[in-house]
Structures are given as structure tokens and as C-alpha cells.
């Protein structure tokens, strides 16, 4: 009956996107007269109990060393077994790299379907309806899953996790039945640049475009990002030119982001770029062309040369944040 939420941790720390999913599921569960059961792979018992602070009644804690690294076959089987045990027809998870990989296999295993990367979810006459951006955010569709089993992935940074409350989730150790055949496909390790924030997880983003004129000027973007505690992003033009890696590309063929603050430096604002960032809560643009389309979506704009404006802005913010 309960809504199952698949949560993720990295280095023992539960990801914020997972808390967002638990909190959101708890709201939906409340309206449907049921509760939330979190599934936690790895981490410790404190983390499992801590799910209660975000609204989970119970946590199925899977402490199996073979699952410390992602293996989609084994994860699918484990979650499907958890759903069966809990009688859960609805499974939610964050639309992270892991969630996006896991959800479709899980949906087929459960004979259901996925509504992916949703940005709004509600209960409407007893049915769950969800809204998700399509065409890279140029349109939204409201959808309903008609199969009995339903999987939703929730876009990170869109739903609020809220503050952790004092409640603890009831923790139940859960040992899924897994065989060697479930580990044919497995992660053998990850390489995460330490201290580097990903644009999809960042609260603030500073992005640079062609206006920076060359990769040697990227320290302007990085300097401002450092002051704001922001991740760095890039326009497609800059990635195609080889100045920056594709992982930083924001836009239709890159990543879709919705940070609190998005600062666009020397980005004119091609429609493909706007599609990936226009849902940011506050957008600042610096561009020397006053007619650049980026100013159509920016909350605040400065018309000027990035080489003059950005150092001044970085300095002013340093003083402001320092005081």
C-alpha cells in the first residue's frame, strides 16, 4: 500500500534529491491515506532513521556490500522485491543519473510505466497526476499513468525537502534475494571531481558563453562561481568549441537546470540554451548586446563587457558576502 521511495547516498551521506523525493511522496501519501517507505542502499542506521525527518514512516535498510556500487539488474530486483513485500503500487525516486537508469527497467519488471523527470505531482480525484517538461522545457505535459504500477522520477532541485523534523523512521533490515546473474552489469567505481558541484545539483550556477572569447578567460566564470558557491556551466557554443567539457553544458542537448540563481555571462541566449535554464528561480545576465535574447528571460541584466563587469561584480559580492 505504502508509496516506496528509492533513496541514494554517496559516501554515506544521503543526497538532497532523495530527501526531496521522500518529502514529496509523503505529501502525496498523506492525501491518499497511506505512508511512505524509503528504500536505502548502504549508509548507516542513523541515515535510515533520519528518513523519518522528511516524512517516511519506515525505511527498508539494505546493507549488502555488493550493492555499495550501482548494479542496475540487482537494484531493479531489490526494489521490485521491496515493492512486492510492501504491497506498493507507486514507486518514486529522484531523476538522478541512477534514478533515470533504474526507473525504466523497474517499470517493466513491475509491469507498469514511468512518468519521468516530473516537476509537479498531485492527487486529483484519487489519481496521481504529474507535470513534466518536454521539448527541453518548451512545453509541459500533464500525465496520468493508467497501469496499476506506477513509477515517477522527480527532477532534483524542484521539490522542497524542507527542514528535517524530529521524527524517526522505523528501520527494518531488508536483504533482497540476489544471485550472481544480477551483477552482470555493474559499476566498478566512480570518478568524482572532489569539491566540484554538478550543475544539476547546484543551488547557484554561473555559466559562460562565447562572450568570454576563449578558454583562457574561464577564471572569470570560476572566480564569480567561487564567491557564490556556485557550479560552473557553459553554453553549447563553448562546449562545441572544446573550451569546456560536455558535462557542464546547459541547454537542450546538455543539462536542464533549475537553480535558485543562474548567472549567464556572455551568453546570447539561443532558444536551445533558454530551454535548459529558463525555469531557474532568478536569472542574471551580463552581455554587451542589449538586444540579446537572454535579456528576455533575465530578471536582472547588465549591458556591458564581461571583462569589465564580471571582475567588479565578483569584488562587490565578495564584500557583500564577507560583511
Amino acid at each position: 500500500m505504502s508509496i516506496l521511495v528509492v533513496t541514494e547516498q554517496r559516501d554515506g551521506k544521503v543526497k538532497k534529491a532523495s530527501y526531496e523525493a521522500v518529502r514529496t511522496a509523503a505529501k502525496i501519501a498523506g492525501e491518499m491515506g497511506t505512508t511512505v517507505t524509503a528504500v536505502l542502499f548502504g549508509a548507516d542506521e542513523a541515515a535510515a532513521k533520519g528518513m523519518g525527518g522528511y516524512g517516511a514512516a519506515k525505511t527498508l535498510h539494505i546493507a549488502d556490500d555488493r550493492l555499495n556500487l550501482y548494479a542496475n539488474g540487482a537494484y531493479v530486483k531489490a526494489v521490485a522485491q521491496a515493492a512486492e513485500k510492501e504491497g506498493s503500487d507507486v514507486v518514486m525516486m529522484p531523476a538522478t543519473a541512477l534514478g533515470k537508469d533504474l526507473a525504466p527497467r523497474l517499470a517493466v519488471r513491475m509491469d507498469g510505466a514511468v512518468a519521468p523527470d516530473v516537476t509537479d505531482i498531485s492527487v486529483d480525484g484519487g489519481d496521481i497526476t504529474a507535470v513534466r517538461p518536454v521539448y527541453a522545457g518548451k512545453a509541459l505535459i500533464k500525465v496520468k499513468i493508467n497501469s496499476a504500477k506506477k513509477v515517477f522520477t522527480l527532477r532534483p532541485n524542484v521539490f522542497s525537502a524542507g527542514e528535517a523534523g524530529g521524527d524517526e523512521a522505523a528501520v527494518e533490515a531488508f536483504a533482497p534475494e540476489l544471485g550472481d546473474e544480477d551483477f552482470v552489469t555493474k559499476s566498478t567505481g566512480t570518478s568524482i571531481a572532489s569539491g566540484k558541484l554538478d550543475v544539476t545539483e547546484a543551488v547557484n550556477i554561473v555559466s559562460g558563453g562565447r562572450g568570454l572569447q576563449g578558454p583562457e578567460h574561464w577564471q572569470l566564470v570560476e572566480g564569480l562561481a567561487e564567491v557564490l558557491g556556485a557550479a560552473t556551466g557553459a553554453s553549447r557554443a563553448v562546449v562545441d568549441a572544446g573550451w569546456r567539457p560536455h558535462a557542464e553544458q546547459v541547454g537542450q542537448t546538455g543539462k536542464t537546470v533549475s537553480p535558485n540563481l543562474y548567472v549567464a555571462l556572455g551568453i546570447s541566449g539561443a532558444i536551445q540554451h533558454l530551454a535548459g535554464m529558463s525555469s531557474s528561480k532568478c536569472i542574471v545576465a551580463v552581455n554587451k548586446d542589449k538586444d540579446a535574447p537572454i535579456f528576455q528571460v533575465a530578471d536582472y541584466g547588465i549591458v556591458g563587457d564581461v571583462f569589465e563587469v564580471v571582475p567588479a561584480l565578483t569584488e562587490e559580492l565578495k564584500n557583500h558576502i564577507g560583511s
Binding site: N72, G73, T96, K100, D101, L102, A103, P104, R105, V108, G112, A113, V114, P116, P133, V134, Y135, A136, A139, L140, K142, K144, I145, N146, V184, T185, K186, S187, G189, T190, I192, A193, L197, D198, N204, H246, A247, Q252, T253, G254, L261, I271, Q272, S278, C282, V284, F295, Q296, A298, D299, Y300, G301, I302, V303, G304, E308, P311, L313, E316, H320
Partner: protein, 249 residues
């Protein structure tokens, strides 16, 4: 190697999306359709694998007659033949995967490539759906791929803030990320040859969409904000506004 590449027929990225008359899908009037950009990496991966190991590459697409044009783009790049699952009505991701899985199940695929997402419905689901339906491994968002002679392979997939190394073995479904390779441009000769390459039509099993679109809408139009000023002199006022009005710093 028996290589299949699943492609999607999608509106060009510069399309200004308008909601169509039924309020549930876009208005196709005036829209130019292209081979989904991520699928170009998938086609290239298929072609490179064929060049290294031999075999043939089949381009697969589900949709109405118009998608043949997109299959031909893959053939023009160098694929050998097409497989068109003729579905006149739009299908959700599950239904599209089901149509492909049914078409492929008796064709002994060694590897199935697709793009990480189609840029219309942005589902990121195809590799996982197909892998599970065909009961073979799947790896999504592969930015690097190294397939050994014995069929075991290593892929690097992009994850938040870095990469994850995945090992698995063929047969498998692999979705391609930008960076996996540099897709070739079709040459004139390839375009001419593509017209004569065979495209097999297959009928899918009827399917009722599991995910129902209730309505499509345009996101609320953001009003253009204010130009705070020109040049570095405007910086002080900008910081004040970010702090006092927007409250983001």
C-alpha cells in the same frame, strides 16, 4: 556482429513549440524533423563497431510513414538496412520500446544502440525499457565504450559531478551520450545509396498507451526583467537587488 540502432524522428532543436488543436501534443505545422541528435552518436557507434568487427547495421524506428526519412539519414551515414515498425498513432515510451522489443526478439541482436534521450519527450528510458523487455543488460548515457573480442565491455557513463565505470557483456542495449564519438556527415554518395537500401516494414502488436497525456501547455511566459544598468557601475545596484528584492544572496 548483428548491430541495431534505434532512432527517433524529432522536431529540430530550433523549433518554436506551439500546442496543437487537441491540446495534447504539438502543432506539427511548419516543423522540420531531424534525426534525434543523440541518435547520431548511436549510429556512429554502430558503424564503428561494424568497421572493427564486421557484420551489419540496421536502423530501427517506430512511427508513421514520415519516419522513413529519418531511417534514410541513418542509412546515408552508412548503415546497411532499415526496420520500420509502422505505428500510425503516437506511442508512449513503453509502447515504443515494446514495438521494438517485439520486432527484435527473434533477430539475434548482438548489440542495440540508442541515444540517451529523444529531444522531444525527453524520457531517457529507451535503453532500460528495451534491456528489460529483451532480458539483456542495459547501460545508459555511455560517453565511452570499449567492447572486447569476447563481448565483455566497459562503458563510462556520466553521473552527477563525474563518471561511473560500468562493466557488462553483450548482447546489451547501450544508450549514447554526446562525447562517445564524432558522428560522420553523410556524403553525397551515401545519400544516393541510402535511397536504394532496403527498409523492412513490420506491423506492431496493438497497444494502448500506459501514460496518458491529459493536456499540453506552454510554460508561463517569464516577463523580461529589468536592465539594471550599463557597465561595471551597475554592479552595486545589482547586488543590492539580488539581496533585498530577489533574496537569493
Amino acid at each position: 556482429m548483428n548491430i541495431f540502432v534505434c532512432v527517433s524522428h524529432v522536431p529540430d532543436t530550433t523549433t518554436k513549440v506551439q500546442v496543437g488543436g487537441d491540446g495534447k501534443a504539438i502543432d506539427p505545422a511548419g516543423v522540420t524533423y531531424i534525426l534525434n541528435p543523440y541518435d547520431e552518436y548511436a549510429v556512429e557507434a554502430g558503424l564503428q563497431l561494424k568497421e572493427a568487427r564486421g557484420g551489419e547495421v540496421t536502423i530501427v524506428c517506430v512511427g508513421p510513414d514520415a519516419v522513413k526519412e529519418t531511417i534514410r539519414k541513418g542509412l546515408a551515414m552508412g548503415a546497411d538496412k532499415g526496420l520500420h515498425v509502422v505505428a500510425a498513432e503516437p506511442r508512449d515510451s513503453f509502447g515504443t520500446a515494446k514495438a521494438i522489443a517485439d520486432a527484435l526478439k527473434d533477430r539475434a541482436a548482438d548489440v542495440v544502440f540508442c541515444g540517451r534521450q529523444s529531444i522531444d519527450y525527453d524520457g531517457w528510458q529507451m535503453s532500460g525499457l528495451l534491456g528489460e523487455m529483451l532480458s539483456i543488460p542495459s547501460v545508459s548515457v555511455a560517453a565511452k565504450l570499449d567492447i572486447a573480442e569476447d563481448g565483455s565491455f566497459t562503458a563510462e557513463r556520466d553521473i552527477e559531478g563525474g563518471q561511473e565505470t560500468i562493466t557488462s557483456k553483450l548482447p546489451a542495449v547501450i544508450s549514447a551520450q554526446k562525447g562517445l564519438n564524432e558522428p560522420r556527415y553523410p556524403k553525397l554518395q551515401g545519400i544516393m545509396q541510402a535511397k536504394r537500401k532496403p527498409i523492412e516494414d513490420v506491423e506492431p502488436v496493438p497497444y494502448e498507451n500506459r501514460v496518458e497525456v491529459l493536456e499540453m501547455s506552454k510554460p508561463p511566459i517569464k516577463e523580461a526583467g529589468k536592465i539594471v544598468g550599463e557597465g561595471p557601475d551597475a554592479v552595486k545596484e545589482l547586488v543590492r537587488l539580488l539581496h533585498e528584492e530577489a533574496k537569493v544572496i
